[in-house]
């Protein structure tokens, strides 16, 4: 059976074949030789603009943040090296632990929903029936909507006198403090994150589902498997890698959540700051004319370490499954 992929020649093969395919030698140097001579450096030249951008906008801020985390730098005052003092202070800062708790809870609450619900949604809109494009677009709309607009809409809906509470009161349940209770506020923000992220992950799953061989479903059907069984025995194994990818992406995003909680809980982070997440704490501590840049950098370093650890954990779990 011939491979559908174009043949890739090795350097040795290319070298051997040049004897046959090489055109007659003409005066001067051949163009192919010129290209080969510049090969080792030219990739770096092509990459240089990108590398420069990475160095200035990613590498430098990153290194700067790590360096600042060991100083008592403030917005307008360079500060001095204080060793691990900022990290030691973090251990005794109640607000840091509140932020860490909320960020972890956010991840635990949001990630399973963002792994499963978009998959189910993708299965629903996968079928080519009349009008399905409308539904695909509708589910994707929250993804392209501004998070500020989304946040404001949900704040209006969940307000003490908003649409949701009016409905709840009309059916006799009474008004619920979605935006005044510490835990309900966090849950409400999670719901907004899930609602906004559904369409994005649905598109990723749609691409993965398109690659699941139809023959597998047909074979399972012939063997008597129903829709649910086919989902667990054919679909889930086929998109498992995509599920891992979605889990990794959504867990990092959830751990770094800022906008939803900021918009719904207010700049203070909910009642008594109880809904503050780690990134909100970075913003609150490190900005403004009196911002504690060194301390905020220390929190940022913790966020970085945790997100890297999360990625490694997910990838490791994926590799184990593959083995």
């Amino acid at each position: 059976m011939t491979s559908p992929l174009p043949t890739v020649r090795t350097a040795a093969e290319t070298s051997a074949n040049t004897e046959v395919t090489r055109p007659a030698k003409t005066s001067g140097e051949r163009p192919a030789s010129r290209v080969r001579r510049h090969l080792p450096t030219s990739p770096w030249l092509f990459a240089a603009p990108g590398l420069l951008v990475v160095a200035v906008f990613i590498l430098y801020p990153f290194v700067s943040t790590v360096v600042n985390s060991f100083t008592d730098r403030r917005t307008l005052i360079p500060g001095e090296f204080v060793g691990l003092a900022n990290f030691r202070e973090l251990l005794h800062d109640d607000m840091f632990w509140t932020g860490l708790r909320n960020s972890v809870l956010y991840m635990v609450g949001v990630v399973p929903a963002l792994v499963l619900l978009p998959l189910l949604l993708a299965l629903l809109v996968q079928k080519n029936i009349p009008g399905i494009t409308f539904f695909r677009s509708a589910f994707y709309t929250p993804v392209v909507a501004s998070i500020v607009v989304v946040g404001l809409i949900w704040v209006w809906m969940l307000d003490e006198r908003g649409l949701v509470n009016s409905l709840l009161e009309a059916v006799g349940i009474g008004r619920v403090g979605f935006l005044s209770d510490q835990w309900l506020l966090l849950l409400s923000a999670m719901a907004v994150t899930v609602w906004k992220g559904l369409g994005y992950y649905m598109i990723i799953y749609l691409a993965a589902l398109a690659n699941v061989p139809r023959e597998l479903h047909e074979a399972a059907s012939v063997d008597g498997a129903g829709a649910v069984r086919r989902f667990f025995t054919v679909t889930v194994p086929a998109v498992r890698s995509t599920m891992v990818l979605v889990a990794a992406l959504s867990s990092v995003a959830a751990f770094k959540v800022f906008s939803e909680v900021y918009l719904m809980a207010g700049p203070n982070g909910g009642p008594a700051g109880e809904d503050t997440t780690l990134v909100m704490l970075v913003q609150r501590t490190g900005t403004g004319l009196t911002g504690r840049v060194g301390y905020a950098s220390a929190i940022s370093v913790v966020v970085f370490v945790v997100t890297v650890a999360l990625m490694l954990l997910v990838l490791r779990a994926d590799r184990k499954e593959d083995a």
Binding site: I77, L179, S180, G266, G270, T287, G288, L289, T290, R292
Partner: protein, 429 residues
Amino acid sequence: MPISRRALAAAAIAVVLPLSACGSGGDDSGSTDASGKIQGNITFQTWNLRANFKPYFDGLVKDFEKKYPGTHVKWIDQPGEGYADKISADAAGGTLPDVVNVSPDLVAPLAKAGLALDLDKAAPKYKKEYLPGAWASHQIPGTDGTYAFPWYLNTGPLFYNKGLFKKAGLDASKPPKTYDALFDDALRLAKKSKGKVATLANVPTIEDFGRYGAPLMNKEGTGFAFNDAKGVELLTKYKELYDAKALDPQALTATPESTGKKFLTGAVAMNPGSALDLSKFKKDAPSLYKNIGITDQITSTGKVNMYVMGVMVNSRTKQKPAAVAFAHYVTDAQHQMEFAKKVAIFPSTAGSLDDPYFTKQDGSDETRVRIAAADSLKSAVNYTPVLFSEQMKTELRNSVAKALQGKESPKTALDNAVKACDRLLQQQG
């Protein structure tokens, strides 16, 4: 030719190293000498004024350039939201405009970092043109100078919904004037409406503690003191209001915008504001406007709260004479008076408040509010300590919220807030 790892590392360092020179520099605050010819290009930054007052500022700039040939003023206006962050980014990046619209709490860190020009040294001749209290409002504890020209002053009345007062059986013509009367009326309103109508939607701020009579800082200005008996008493009363739903349940997460909306919809009976709000009520809530009541700020000290706005000169400006001249031009008596007639603010220049515009009634609500506010300004106090940073405001709000939720006693909550604010004050240096 392959590039070695060492060469790559060297290239990376070459890219990154020069950047490490960015950020705030030393404390070279430059000289305070503002004498010399008034000329050159300067930038002037204001805070949320372009939308409503573009013609005024365009005219102001044009007149200044005409008066001082050879000068050119570039006016920049920034949104109110995140203004402090914008200034801090400019200050840290060395791009702070030459003349900047600031409030005293913004001046404090800039002055401490040597970025605000000391006007007591650079422009002492102008001091007598301003109200003494207004001139002093930009003096920073721990420093010797005055770091901004006082611009406009503002204070605001308290608006109340007469309809809601009447429904609760209260006399709408006699709104509360003291905190005790306010608390009594609020509890009655909540009881009558079965918790559906709150009287207030904001948790107490540092200004409330000041108006209630609690000392905010010690005499030396080295530590906070709002956890005294008066402060604890105020917070205890607010806890009673919160439990009775006389303080809106969402007050713990409220912003000035959200409380304004609640007042517009009749969910809240009282809200602080300014004369500017009257036109907003007329347009957005006509039924509320028919029922609007206007009263003075609640205060137990007899002195209302006053907000002060200033115009600072960047100490590192290359055009010091022009920058100082323009900052003074914007804030002199003539231009403050012109600006006051366009918007509900009050001049900080000596004698301006005696103008008939601020003393003579014409029967309209706007004039009544303006005259009452101008009168109260004569004894008003800026209760916000200049050293009270955003981080400190957050600490106080969090502690107040813990007390209102019953997680901490009012005394413990305020002790913790003072402790946290003192720690932040020490870290500020």
